[in-house]
Symmetry: C2
Subunit: 123 residues, 2 copies
Amino acid sequence: MISFEQFKIEDGYPIYTQIIQYIKRGIVAGRIRNQDEVPSRRVLSSLIGVNPNTVQKAYRMLEEENIIESRSGAISYVTVDASKIASIRSQLLEGDLGAVVKAMKQMGISKEEALRLMAKLWD
Amino acid sequence: MISFEQFKIEDGYPIYTQIIQYIKRGIVAGRIRNQDEVPSRRVLSSLIGVNPNTVQKAYRMLEEENIIESRSGAISYVTVDASKIASIRSQLLEGDLGAVVKAMKQMGISKEEALRLMAKLWD
DNA sequence: ACCACCGTATTATTTGTATAATACAGCCAA
DNA sequence: TTGGCTGTATTATACAAATAATACGGTGGT
């Protein structure tokens, strides 16, 4: 069963996208593995304090990306292999890191300064 | 007069926040300076193809942060000094870069790999 | 077989984002 | 001074995100 202990809702982004991100990042990090069980819609919604429909929307979109599988009546579970994990990883990196690189360039920050800032922020 | 030639609407974020970001990043980069004139609500809205109310919302929020000043009937203009520019800069960096550092840590990426990925993405 | 839990579906309501159509008063250059 | 542009305000509509309250049928352990 996937753990959502580290999950915290932040504002600025739709909750369903935060659930999707949390699971994708967990898969990339190896915390979430193939065939792991996913909390039911009702359980997760009451755990993180949102509406079951919000969780359902996140799960449905994950299913459309073939990252989880659901069948009526039964628990849903993760379905990933090595190549899918790699593609999720590059998808997240290009999205997150790419946007920041673009933003810093627009701010007139040099490559060297960007690297120094990131190294400093990392600790 | 501030130029919006480089401005492009992207989806995923509210348009009014994109306008705010564009101006803040321009200020940090030095492209937008103190006392620069801001396009009128109507002019900018027709220039970038959005509703005047959307521009008004962005400008009103910038005014609440004391980044622009408006008076009824007259053109609005930028009001920043060195310390405000510095605070905008760290505000943007902490937000954008900080979020990515957090995300990459959640993905189990090492500091060294993160720096290497950013350097690669920069070019 | 029962029954609690599961996924799924539907309808309604609220809030935020964005558009649309006006309206009014202040500023300022011609 | 006049007329066009300015900021500001109001009302209405549309869509997405999120909540709320149900309802139905499938699954699986006891």
